[in-house]
Amino acid sequence: MRHLTLFIFLSLISVSLFSQEDLLDLLNKNVEPEINFASATFKSTRIMNGHSVERMPPGQLDFRISHRFGTINSGAYEFFGLDQSNIHFGLEYGILDWLMIGIGRGTYEKTYDAFAKFTILRQSAGARIMPVSVSVLSSVAATSIKWTDPERDNYFSSRLSYVNQILIARKINQSFSVQLSPSFVHRNLVATEFDPNDLWSIGAGGRMKLTKRISLNAEYYYMINSKTNMSREIHDPFSIGFDIETGGHVFQLIFTNSLAMIEKGFIGETTGDWLKGDIHFGFNISRVFTLK
């Protein structure tokens, strides 16, 4: 009899347990957790001048047109710099979901450039936790400007410079992302013996979304080499501006003290001084085409 009571009691418990359990809770208990990758840490493959951790997805072609005007402090005669224009064209393409390549041509020293960007780590939460995304950028640039001294022996290799960067970024929340970019620039030929062939610097950048489609971006590169003895007055590049996204385009409006739009130029050859008003207004336009 006692057993029978126990039996009924237990069956009641088991039945009540099941009817009370919420089906959604039960579902969550049985579902294997998935990996949630952080998406769109930055809107574009550039924060401002420098590369962001983002890359083009496979099969997508990015056509980029960038302008930097003259300095704002050049006055009304130069229409605050807008009479002069420096341009950089780029064609960039995602090959694999961890590899993109690009080529470009810029007015500054009539430079051709090419790069490859590799994604090494992807920030994720859920089943696999990874606090940061990491990409590596390798680029090479060749100037084609006329030799300053045509009389001496000039070699093509003297036109080349190389850049390697490790880009480490974290999307902190939906609207705020930060990035650190340790960078190494090697220049085969420099102007004088006071200018180092190897430049070390650390970049820091971030973006803050103001609305769903507009964000405020800023970027700074600190040069570790001493700048005091160089043959030219060199400053650390600082850029601030906005990303404006409209469907397949991203517009970047930018205020910067550097004229060059590739790493070798803005890291090592920025001559503008923010405090004196040597500020270039400019923009980057990115138009993405889906090729496959």
């Binding site: 237990l10 088991s14 579902l27 049985n30 998935e34 949630n36 998406s39 889906t290």
Partner: protein, 184 residues
């Protein structure tokens, strides 16, 4: 001995109770937007769902980031601008089959059902009623449904610049294949 019998009976009760539930983690959901300018399609094959045939209760859960689009940019905009998937990572449906009495879960065959419940998406919950088909097969249950949703009902704002590219009403298709849920 009697105790052992009790234990067995009780565990048997548990088992029968759980065999009333059917589950899947690999259900399909897709949606389709048609405008004269462009067609947008997205699919997701990681729908999880449980169907309790004893009560007719049915739940669905979808990870928003698992939707795949033809163009990577669309996927980014879907997550970043429209669904805000970092803030609202999941969409759930919790409902009930209204006409369970017309479905014989012991006999193979196709049955038309009407399901009513709460659909939560982008932080907004709406009551919806949809028609579906339940197909009882040996060793499992298949279910399918096709219905329309209006993004505006879920406070998903579509800005003027792309308003002509995205349809006012999206057609959603769900197909799932359930297997009995083993008790854990």
């Amino acid at each position: 001995m009697k105790r052992i019998i009790i234990v067995f009976t009780v565990s048997f009760l548990f088992l029968t109770a759980s065999a009333q539930k059917f589950m899947t983690q690999t259900g399909n959901i897709s949606f389709f937007s048609h405008t004269p300018i462009e067609d947008i399609k997205a699919y997701n094959n990681q729908v999880s769902s449980i169907l309790d045939i004893s009560t007719g209760e049915i739940v669905f859960q979808v990870n928003i980031k698992s939707f795949k689009f033809e163009k990577a940019l669309m996927e980014e905009h879907f997550n970043e601008n429209y669904m805000e998937s970092e803030k609202y990572p999941r969409s759930t449906f919790k409902g009930k089959i209204l006409n369970t009495e017309s479905v014989d879960f012991t006999k193979t065959g196709k049955y038309d059902v009407k399901v009513e419940g709460d659909l939560e998406m982008h932080g907004v919950t709406n009551k919806v009623t949809v028609n579906g088909i339940i197909e009882v097969i040996s060793g499992g249950i298949n279910a399918a449904s096709k219905f329309n949703i209006v993004p505006e009902d879920y406070k998903i704002n579509i800005p003027g610049i792309v308003r002509d590219n995205i349809a006012k009403t999206l057609e959603v298709t769900i197909t799932v294949k359930y297997t009995p849920l083993a008790s854990k």
